[in-house]
């Protein structure tokens, strides 16, 4: 039977993979995918906590699952806006490489 530590370990590793993608890759689309992986890692640990620390009626915490539901909704909105910004950037600069997008750099 997997314990909570197993789920938290997997969730942490998924977060680390996403963080690695954001820090190490230079393609803005891949950076965005790394962000999605990190959001999902947070969702996994929330659901794991809701199952391993049940509510007083002996069922999984519904509050945590509602929270995950909100996170998924916000992530969907974020993806739509982010991809629209990437398309607008691509139209003006013809690149998705972050080192070519340096006009705001000091």
């Amino acid at each position: 039977m997997p314990t909570l530590a197993h789920y938290l370990l997997v969730s942490g590793l998924l977060f680390a993979i996403g963080l690695g993608g954001v820090l190490l890759r230079r393609n803005i689309l891949i950076i965005f995918m790394g962000l999605e992986l990190m959001l999902n890692a947070a969702n996994l640990s929330l659901v794991a906590f809701s199952r391993y620390f049940p509510a007083s009626d002996g069922l999984p915490q519904a509050n945590a699952q509602v929270f995950v539901f909100f996170i998924i909704t916000v992530a969907a909105a974020e993806v739509a806006v982010g991809l629209a910004i990437i398309v607008a950037l691509f139209r003006s600069k013809q690149t998705t490489h972050v080192e070519d997008l340096d006009s705001l750099k000091f």
Binding site: I17, R51, V81
Partner: protein, 167 residues
């Protein structure tokens, strides 16, 4: 059995995640991301969160990934050429990652409350869609309305951003 399923889906998810950040072509990365999302939905089901698992497949593996693939096709990206890597950027990134993983290992090794077996559910056949729905509408009604407004604002924002001429 449960442990075997847990490890199968975890390994699948983590391998797909590594694939996302290692593949050179964005389409392959997107495929890795779909695999990771579906495996994560399976992990949600092993945690008795059926509603969240279904929403994960519908919203992420369905809507979000279609949007990603659509944009990748629209941008007509070629495989990015190899560029010289910056040693300082990789060293900084690696350092942050190692710090994070060390902190995680320390927390997991030290807290004994995380190693207990899964508590049995009082009613294994309970309807978790009804429970989540009741909680959502009774206790989180205002946040639910606010999230609706947020989606509307995001939709309008995307339409404005996608116009030909940005003023």
């Amino acid at each position: 059995m449960q442990l075997a399923l847990f490890w199968i889906f975890s390994a699948l998810m983590l391998l797909a995640g590594v694939g996302v950040i290692l593949f050179r072509s964005p389409v392959s990365s997107a495929m890795g991301l779909v695999t990771a999302f579906v495996a994560l939905a399976a992990l949600f089901v092993t945690l008795d969160a059926f509603f969240i698992g279904v929403v994960q497949v519908l919203v992420y593996a369905g809507a979000v990934m279609v949007l990603f693939l659509f944009i990748i096709m629209l941008l007509d990206l070629r495989e990015e050429g190899r560029r010289p890597v910056k040693i300082s950027a990789w060293a900084g990134g690696g350092l942050v990652l190692c710090g994070f993983l060390a902190a995680l290992a320390r927390v997991l090794a030290q807290s004994s409350s995380l190693h207990g077996a899964k508590p049995a559910l009082s009613n294994p056949m309970s309807d978790d869609v009804a429970r989540v729905g009741t909680t959502l509408f009774l206790h989180f009604n205002l946040p639910f309305q606010v999230i609706g407004v947020l989606l509307l604002v995001a939709t309008v924002g995307v339409v404005v951003l996608s116009r030909k001429e940005l003023k």
